[in-house]
Amino acid sequence: MAHGSTTTVPEDDFVITPTRPGEEKGTWSAVIQDLLFTVDHKKLGLMYIGSGLIFFVIAGLMAAAIRLQLAIPNAHFISPDVYNRFFTMHGTAMVFLVGMPIIFGMANYLVPIMIGARDMAFPRLNAFGFWMFFFSGWFLYFSYFAGPGLYNAGSAPDIGWFAYSPLTSKAFSRGHSSDYWTLALLASGVGSVATALNIIVTTISLRCKGMTLGRMPLFVWTFLVVAFLVILAIPPLSACQIMLILDRYLGAKFFDTQAGGSAILWQHFFWIFGHPEVYILILPGFAAMNEIVPVFSRKPIFGYPIMVGANVMIAFISLGVWAHHMFTVGMTSLGNSFFAISTMLVAVPTGIKIFNWIGTMYGGKIRFELPMLFCIAFLFQFLIAGLTGIMLSVAPFDWQLSDSYFVVAHFHYVLIGGLLFTIFAAIYFWYPKAFGRMLSHKLGMWHFVLFTLGFHLTFLPQHVSGFLGMPRRIYTYEAGRGWEAWNMMSSIGVIFQAAGILFFVWNLIYSYKKGKIAGDDPWDAWTLEWATTSPPPDYNFEKTPEVRSRRPLWDLKHPEDPDWKYE
């Protein structure tokens, strides 16, 4: 491990000489052992993000196959069975194997450093959480090789990512495909809860001296809220997975409508998890925004306490909006009204946040570096996603467009235009910290331009095809309904997105060896992670830092005008 130019362990007695064979530094065996047995939050964080990106590429290829199938009417590039499995695996993987691990990776890497701690509160639990996710991810993908084998796409689940009952009952889902889905999600849920618990405990109990709750970086605050959402929202998912397993293996009647069970109850339980999950995925995007926008606007964040309040308010409201996924089920008008209004209410704190980010940029000396470009794109795209969300929260509108491509466009604007763009921003921002080298600006610009272009080309037309009545998840469609042009545009957009991702992946690999040396604080930022070396040593800080304001590095760089005078 390179610790940068100024190594901080000069004494010999700090260096542990390898005694056992295979533990010498630099050999493959050493690297593998290091990855397998590490409990270091930084390595686990990078492993989370790395595996998340691998799953991202796989699930992205599935999406590309779906778009290929839908590019022209009456196409038969892939068979209907394979198609059903692809959209199920694409959705499941993107949520549970890409979104969740990448946000946990960000939290793992950054939360302890930002609060001046040396590791997470429970390092071994942290490793446990990672390996639960990792193996359940490969377990889910293993379904392709199980059962009848690859010839007819194995036993991969084909029930959609929310697996509505009674499609999952033994009668309609033979074999073990649904069991792979259920068990993989149950196992990864255990890992997620473990990691979220770790984040909460780390944030509350391991803050360095002076790091009061009112001085914590907003990134950490947001992840505290996310972790609370995880521990409240994942257990309902685990509970309904347990019920489904009992139904499928022991003949229980939870979702068996023939025996008095209710298929609607599955929808309620799933969305009690499912909607907070959306906020679990998007709040980390906000977290990255909260750190990146101020640094590149050269101003402290506008309205820190309001931002904290907005986070908590979003999390609170998100626990009471789940049935807006179920307007078409036929609830009472009171139920429809309640969930419509509570859903619209989410727009208030979200609007506050967008307002505050713009307020941060207003009058600032904006540097249009790559992280900032992705953040600005996020502002526009997330605004579109929020507006279509408000449209869908109107129950009669939803009756028209539920399960149409309009919904697909809406949540892809949330998850790609919102989350993925901020993940890219975060990677461009913190890569220099993690690896000590800057990502190439030129390759990054290619990535940004191609991916943004491709993203809008793919998903903007889907609003229209949704309005024209195209349902989601259909295998193919007839010509002459007015959908052809929009679908062709969507599919062409994939090419640009894929090209953008290629530039991104190449950038990650290229800059690891050849990137410009970053130094400790390349962005002139203000939070504690920039106070240590790039990459940070195993123990993060030689001496635990002490802070007096929300921008400890500002105080350090500007002793004549420190922040704590004004806070």
């Binding site: 409240l232 009992l246 604080d521």
Partner: protein
């Protein structure tokens, strides 16, 4: 940037003690919160399905309020507190006695559940697949019973460590956390007792 490397950030604030909350306590409270969310869904499923069974046996035919078992479980919350008080005073043998009583009462409760299930399965013919009552009953009571089992394992580890003299002052918070977990298991039984044995027994 060299001057910042690994330099502690200067801190001119007056020397107040900095004591963030104990990570064990926060961890246990978080665990209890997430477990509560898990139980909540099973309780909701149970309540939702009260009276929805299409065939017998029905709750009112077979459920009897488990007074002694409930008394044993609630009482064990008291005895574990007595054990903690003894530990705080440094009275190790008294601690071990109260702790062992707690384990005995928890084991009695678990034995009751085993006996009850045996009756239901072999005499009343109620299994998890008989009807919707069986599904919700066994899953909710079983989830609770599994927590009692975990609690008993944790309690036993403490007792064995204490008997072998491995427990010292550094472990006081460990003991307290296990007591918290045990109180949680008891509190869940308040809900299960109310919902299953008091409310649904009329249907």
């Amino acid at each position: 940037m060299d001057q910042f490397i690994n330099q502690p950030v200067p801190f001119a604030e007056e020397e107040r003690p900095w004591r963030p909350p104990s990570f064990r306590k926060v961890g246990m409270l978080t665990l209890i919160t997430t477990e509560s969310a898990l139980f909540a869904i099973f309780v909701v499923a149970y309540v939702f399905y009260i009276g929805k069974s299409l065939n017998g046996p029905y709750p009112h035919e077979i459920l009897h309020i488990p007074w002694t078992a409930s008394f044993a479980l609630f009482g064990s919350s008291a005895t574990i507190t007595f054990a903690e008080m003894a530990l705080k005073k440094g009275n190790r043998s008294l601690f071990q006695i109260w702790w062992a009583i707690t384990i005995a009462m928890g084991a009695y409760f678990l034995g009751f559940t085993a006996f009850e299930w045996h009756e239901f399965i072999f005499k009343e013919g109620l299994t998890i697949s008989t009807n919707i009552f069986g599904s919700t009953f066994y899953s909710l009571v079983g989830l609770h019973a599994s927590h009692v089992i975990v609690g008993l394992l944790l309690l036993s580890i403490i007792l064995i460590s204490s008997l072998r003299g491995k427990l010292d002052h550094g472990h006081h918070e460990h003991v307290e956390m296990i007591a918290w977990y045990w109180h949680f298991v008891d509190a869940v039984w308040v809900v299960v007792l109310t919902v299953v044995y008091l409310i649904s027994a009329h249907y």
